[in-house]
């Protein structure tokens, strides 16, 4: 029996032994003692005697011992609860004291009384009611109690294991609930900073760290605005060089995977020791490249950072790394999309330089109008993009027709009327632009059904077409054209007022008339400045 199980078993075993009228002993290198207080007078005398202790310590040299059952003297039985006789001699063990019939025989009792310095007659009188055991009874009782001791030992071992397992399970629950919370917060439509702040906070609370910080690398352009960002949760003196530590850790942990626990930062290079005595560091890695580092310290209650916390932190950081990777992929696809869009609008502008900036202004006006009309933010964004590309079909219209001053022939006008259809065909192959097509195809339809290409009327004209059509007409009237100069704002607004319900969706026209157009005029000024710069450059080139 090990020392630990001795401790856990002796309590309950002593209680049961006492209830059964048996005496349980604890045997150590320096003596023998009864476990429990309710011990018979004679037995107490026996146990306390040096004579008995000598017999007990010599038990293993006795030839009479078998399976932990010893006859220390005639009728004096000692049963030891241990199968392991190889254990260190000075280790404590548990045993049972049993009094056999032979002990009551006059001669033996006389010898014991002499050894214990007791008066034999008085002792005999006191022992009159004692139930003396036969050797076989003593052996059976010893065996039963030994089994009980083993069972109690097994129960306490199981209880300890159960406790450990439950503890581990609780940690797993914690981890699972944390990962669940984070993964449900991982949608890309919330600002990433909110997500990271939240992650730091949760981690700090779950791991019982005083503070947790996340430093994102500055070396990855695909992270866009997140580059070099830092998030912190918990209590930390903000004068400490936390950001510098973050940057140092990113350098030191580049190329590493998994967590690092540092119990004493004084040996670390850099500023670590100024920030915290102990540190938990987890790099966030994607494709072997370090994207960020999560680090924390000052564990609550001054405990050491343990590997359970570290594992929890590491699995959370895996999730965060995936989130960062997704953000980069999103950034990639968005920048590719916007790049493609700008290429398209530049192509339109290059074709029809007289309307320089027209696409961008129509996009802006459409966005302003859509927002003022109470359309949801996501749709407003798409309307803006549709505005950018609404004239993409002009790529397919001959340049001399587009820039012809004066009146167009019927054929030329027919060619112009092709551009919504051509534009729709250009975009049709791009899945991500599919929803923009109505804006491109129908921006020349009229509310009264007299527009082109399909002569749609009223609400049959899709929203994108009605919004962009209005914005397009406004910008066309407000800027110089090959065939006329720009009209004044009053004239243009009066025209819109006049044409609501014929050319324009009356409700949208009402909203438009109330718009604050200052962003639009600022944009016009910017476009004019750019165009003048371009003209000047091309003139210079002409001179050279």
């Amino acid at each position: 029996m090990t020392l630990q199980s001795l401790q856990t078993v002796s309590g309950p075993l002593a209680k049961r032994a006492a209830a059964l009228g048996l005496t349980l002993l604890r045997v150590g290198s320096d003596g023998v003692a009864a476990v429990g207080s309710d011990v018979d007078w004679f037995e107490q005398k026996l146990i306390n005697s040096a004579w008995f202790f000598r017999l007990v310590t010599q038990r293993r040299d006795m030839s009479s011992g078998e399976n932990g059952f010893f006859e220390l003297a005639n009728g004096l039985y000692f049963a030891e609860f241990s199968a392991n006789f190889e254990q260190a001699a000075d280790e404590e063990s548990l045993g049972l004291l049993l009094l056999g019939k032979e002990l009551s025989e006059t001669e033996t009792l006389q010898r014991i009384c002499d050894s214990l310095r007791l008066d034999r007659r008085a002792t005999e009188a006191k022992l009159e009611t004692t139930h003396w055991l036969s050797r076989s009874e003593a052996k059976r009782i010893a065996q039963a109690v030994a089994w009980m001791a083993n069972d109690l030992d097994a129960v306490s071992t199981h209880r300890r294991e159960l406790h450990q397992l439950s503890d581990e399970l609780a940690t797993n629950y914690e981890e699972l609930s944390l990962l669940y919370k984070l993964s449900s917060g991982m949608s890309l439509d919330q600002p990433p900073s909110a997500f990271f702040e939240n992650a730091c906070q949760e981690l700090q609370e779950v791991c019982g760290l005083g503070w947790v910080s996340l430093q994102i690398t500055e070396n990855q352009p695909r992270l866009n605005q997140l580059r070099g960002a830092a998030y912190t949760a918990g209590q930390i003196d903000l004068r400490k060089p936390l950001r510098q530590l973050g940057r140092e850790l990113i350098e030191q942990h580049a190329g590493r995977q998994g967590f690092t626990i540092i119990d004493d930062t004084s040996k670390l290079p850099g500023v670590a020791s100024q920030v915290s005595r102990s540190l938990l560091i987890v790099p966030l890695v994607c494709d072997g490249e370090i994207l960020a580092v999560m680090f924390g310290g000052d564990r609550v209650n001054d405990e050491h950072i343990d590997s359970i916390d570290a594992k929890l932190c590491a699995s959370l950081c895996n999730t965060l790394a995936i989130f960062l990777e997704n953000l980069m992929l999103l950034e990639d696809s968005q920048s590719l999309f916007m790049g493609t869009l700008h290429a398209l609008t530049s192509a339109i502008d290059a074709k029809d330089s007289y309307t320089f900036g027209h696409s961008e202004r129509v996009a802006l006006l459409s966005q302003m109008l859509a927002r003022a009309a109470g359309i949801d933010q996501a749709t407003v964004e798409r309307i803006y993009i549709a505005g950018l590309v609404h004239d993409v079909g002009k790529i397919g219209v001959p340049e001399d027709v587009l820039s012809k001053p004066g009146k167009l022939t019927d054929d030329e006008f027919a060619a112009i009327k092709m551009h919504p259809g051509i534009g729709a065909n250009i975009l049709r192959g791009i899945r991500q632009m599919d929803d923009l097509i109505p804006g491109v195809l129908y921006h020349h339809e009229r509310w009264d059904g007299k527009g082109y290409p399909e002569k749609r009327a009223g609400m049959d004209i899709p929203l994108f077409g009605r919004v962009i059509g209005l914005a397009d007409a406004f910008d066309a009237m407000s800027s110089d054209r090959t065939y006329r100069s720009a009209l004044s704002l009053e004239t243009v607004l009066a025209e819109i007022e006049k044409c609501k319900g014929t050319q324009f969706d009356p409700e949208l026209a009402e909203v438009f008339l109330k718009l604050d157009l200052s962003p639009y005029f600022q944009m016009i000024q910017r476009h004019q400045a750019t165009q003048q710069g371009r003209d000047a450059r091309s003139e210079n080139r002409g001179v050279a």
Binding site: S166, L169, E174, Y180
Partner: protein, 134 residues
Amino acid sequence: MPEQPTILICDDEPHILHVVGLKLREAGYGVLTASSGKECLHLARQHQPVLLITDYVMPGMNGIEVCRALREDPVTAEIDLILLTARGGSLSDSDIDDTGFAAIFSKPFSPRELLAFVKERVAIARVSNSEGDE
């Protein structure tokens, strides 16, 4: 009040009993566990715990039925109730309203958060009890 408040946990899954029981014991609460609704009602009437944490889906009586039965019995009507449910489980609003749960935790829940909530509720129960005594 020196005596430790008793909390009853009811779940047919033993691992929940072990985990929640462990956390509560470590925090110094007396803990009773039941693995069925019937056993739960019996223990609740016998010991009148301050709080019951019960699973919703169990064979036999479900958590809502257990809580209704407790509410109907004056002896157990005042017991604070916390319901554990599987995430995305089917619980109607009327079930929740007329049983008056202090909270509903979805599995996998955070034992830390559950314990924090229990502490809060027990503190409230103590304050209102001592007010009643005066």
